[in-house]
Amino acid sequence: MLTSVELVEFAAKNGIPIWALDASIALVLALAVFSLCGLGVIVLVYMERKVSADIQLRLGPTHVGPRGTLQLIADMIKLLSKEDVFPKHADRWLFRLAPALVFIAAFTGLMVIPIGPRLVVQDLNVGLLYVLAIPSIAVAGLIMAGFGSYNKYAMMGGLRAAAQMVSYEVPRALSVIGIVMLAGSAKLSTIVDAQGFWYIFLQPIGFMVFLVSTLAEINRVPFDMPEAESELVHGYSTEYSGMRYAFFLFGEYIALIAAAALTVVLFLGGWHGPGPELLGPIWFAIKFFGVVFVIMWVRWTLPRFRIDQVMDLGWKVLLPLALLNILITGIVMSI
């Protein structure tokens, strides 16, 4: 989308092939997205600590930097200087590839999310399908981590993660079908532009199903069965330490960023708001942090579910509700 006519002409004059031009622009954009989401992770981890502290009447981090803002940097330095422990029986390749896969799957998913008018890396026609499909490849990473660690807790954590994420994938994808029907497109920027009236009001059932299954999809409390500390030590990442553990953490927070941004794009009108178009990204950021705050609020308010309750909720409540939502939307639109 950024390939302007002059650039193409310049490339043609100097004998640079089009794919090389594309690749270099993509590289710049990928680095930009990476720094943006790195910044996002720093802000979100700090926010998570402060919000949780506030809810539990604590202070949270206060010592490192002004008001504890540099706490995550200190944590990163600590994780970097830790020994790279490789457990005795672990599978060489599965154990090494798992964190990388989780991180890359979450990161690549950010490619299609528009944060402002024309501010998107690649506005795919199947953007919605892409952003639902690619980040859920992380499931494979979690199973690999569980299986590769040669540890009972990790094995059970990996299996639970797979069962849960796979179950909630279905209602999550079905709940956005109503939006695709209303907007007549699966392109995320078209969906945003179609929202003169926010879809959260036109699709209340869809919104609720989407939010709940998103919480389960990114393994947030109350759906954090895969790493339930009280029963599974730390689930699939029990055997990990140092940077490899940090990549699981990154993956989780980038998935949170993607999920919150997707909620804003689909249901809360994206970058639309009063004022000139230039303010779009600011409106987006305000809505984004609102959604993130709600997700964190839920985390520190509700206790964890049991695994059978989690599966019941997914298959017996959310799936029929999502189908009902499609039915209602279809009938209302046909009349």
Binding site: T3, W19, D22, A23, A26, L27, L29, A30, F34, L79, L80, S81, K82, E83, D84, V85, P87, K88, A100, I104, F107, T108, M111, Q122, L129, S149, Y150, N151, K152, A154, L159, A162, A163, V166, S167, V170, A173, L174, G178, V180, M181, G184, A186, T238, E239, G242, M243, A246, F247, D308, M311, D312, W315, K316, L319, L323, L327, G330, I331, M333
Partner: protein, 119 residues
Amino acid sequence: MISEIIYFSVFVAVGLTVVVLMLGLQKLLQTKRHSDAKLSVYECGNIDVVSDPRIQIKMRYYIFGLLFIIFDVEMIFLFPWAVVFKSLGLVALIEMLVFIMILLLGLLYAWRKGVLKWT
């Protein structure tokens, strides 16, 4: 199409480079002190693993996997239908309803059979 694939590959490459760079940095900064106990598997105080953790897994996981595939394929059918729904109207709705009903009957059958119970 080609340009989209290039973008995707570049994103994957950047992610991979970040992972490799960070792990390399850790290699430079870490202090290595080997001990047998550190490398052992995390269990409740055992010196080595008591039994193979790669046990036969519960049948339920497999059944939920099967159910997932059925509904995931349904979802793939629904997406193109939803995109063109506006121009097709009521007939398309009824046709899709028949399709969903068949799958819903399947889900109800699984439910009645007690397949969806976890214990």
